[in-house]
């Protein structure tokens, strides 16, 4: 339980995964342009990230730590995500066609992105973590994504004003804003990453 809470807090706030590892940053910038997309997208991201971790965790133990398993692990994670995505599409199309038509554009981007695959990869690669810790890390990463998307949307609205020099309007100011946020977070939590 301690691991679960520790990783949720670390990945969401103290060492926000998007700002500290860059996972999902391109998608986050694009999603933040439309405020109404943030919550449904983050929810989908959370479902895919957590399910991928849940399925890959026992598979990781199964394939072991041989040289071959090192090569095939990334392919295994992408294949698991692809199967989860196909299962979710089939389920939604059959049971909830209205919901599917509303989220069908967000679904592939939420399933196939750096955050979902990256979290599953670092759980096994960088440190050995318990299953509750792994689930906490994926939930925290998605909560961090949601938090940062809201902050970015707010930032984009405030940066869209004539006081900003012309060359810096739009994407340049957003990137610098995210850089300052990342620097502030590093000052807050230190440069030794837990993730």
């Amino acid at each position: 339980m301690t691991d679960f809470i520790k990783f949720i807090l670390a990945a969401a706030v103290l060492q926000n995964v998007v700002l500290m590892t860059g996972f999902g940053s391109s998608v986050m910038i694009r999603i933040s342009k439309k405020r109404t997309n943030i919550l449904p997208f983050s929810a989908l991201l959370c479902i895919f990230a957590t399910l991928t971790v849940l399925v890959c965790y026992p598979l990781d133990l199964l394939i072991g730590t041989s040289v071959i398993s090192k090569y095939i692990r990334p392919l295994m994670i992408v294949t698991v995500t692809a199967l989860l995505y196909i299962a979710s599409v089939v389920l939604l199309r059959k049971r909830f066609p209205e919901v599917f038509s509303r989220i069908s554009r967000l679904l592939p981007i939420a399933a196939f992105n750096n955050l979902v695959i990256g979290i599953a990869l670092i759980i096994n690669h960088q440190f050995s973590v318990s299953l509750p810790g792994a689930i906490g890390l994926s939930l925290g990463a998605c909560a961090g994504f949601l938090l940062l998307s809201w902050l970015t949307t707010e930032g984009m609205e405030r940066l869209d004003n004539p006081d900003v020099p012309k060359s810096f309007r739009g994407l340049p100011s957003v990137l610098i804003y995210l850089g300052i946020l990342s620097l502030a977070l590093m000052g807050f939590s230190g440069s030794v990453s837990m993730i």
Partner: protein, 220 residues
């Protein structure tokens, strides 16, 4: 017009030229479209890593774009993403073995997390999964080449600057810098560098646009 309809050769050439210039420079894939930022932030800390990630991106994007241009519109929309993502992961499996066994074990170990992420990079999902489906193969391939080059240019510049600042080296060769800033290898430095590079590109474009307007007024 459907992409299968034939169009005059000159029109295709103009489209190829426009697509290349737009994706590579004027609407640079990273600095204008905000695509493919993750590997730059996380792994673009040495020039060697930048070059490896560029080559891997090209190795994935070119076949994926060609495949999606040829068969994408025959596939249901929801099936496309798993096909090109798993295909890309397979290509990267080969790239990983090649890098580990034939190039450098250390380089492979340092890119272990970031190399496979190329398979699900937004570059692949937006360009191969989006642009290529509605364009003829030659235009889709041009876009894939321009995307890889545009991404490569940005990641190599950012990586080289971060390597010089944080380690005092370039391509592993020691430079005699008096000051070394290890913090430049952290993601915030890449965000700031990308922001200033994007602003520089916007400034150049506004200068070119002003000059063109002035020459049109003079000629008119």
């Amino acid at each position: 017009m459907s992409k299968v309809e034939k169009q005059p050769f000159s029109k295709t050439m103009t489209e190829i030229k426009n697509v290349f210039l737009d994706t590579f420079l004027t609407k640079n894939i990273v600095l204008v479209q905000a695509i493919g930022i993750t590997p730059i932030l996380a792994a673009g800390v040495t020039l060697q890593k930048g070059v490896v990630l560029t080559l891997c991106t090209a190795a994935v994007l070119l076949p994926a774009s060609l495949f999606m241009s040829l068969f994408g519109d025959k596939l249901p929309t929801w099936v496309r993403a798993p096909i090109y993502s798993v295909g890309a992961a397979l290509i990267l499996l080969g790239a990983a073995v090649l890098l580990d066994r034939s190039v450098s074990n250390e380089l492979y170990a340092s890119l272990y997390v970031f190399l496979p992420l190329t398979a699900v990079n937004t570059l692949v999902s937006y360009r191969a999964g989006g642009f290529s489906v509605s364009h003829v193969p030659v235009v889709a391939l041009t876009d894939a080449i321009a995307s890889s080059l545009g991404f490569g240019l940005v990641i190599c510049v950012v990586s080289a600057l971060r390597e010089m600042a944080s380690f005092g080296t370039l391509w592993g060769e020691t430079l005699n810098f008096a000051i070394v800033l290890p913090e430049a290898a952290l993601p915030y430095a890449a965000f700031l560098l990308l922001g200033f590079m994007a602003a520089f590109l916007q400034w150049i474009q506004s200068v070119i646009a002003r000059r063109e307007n002035a020459s049109v007024r003079l000629n008119g």
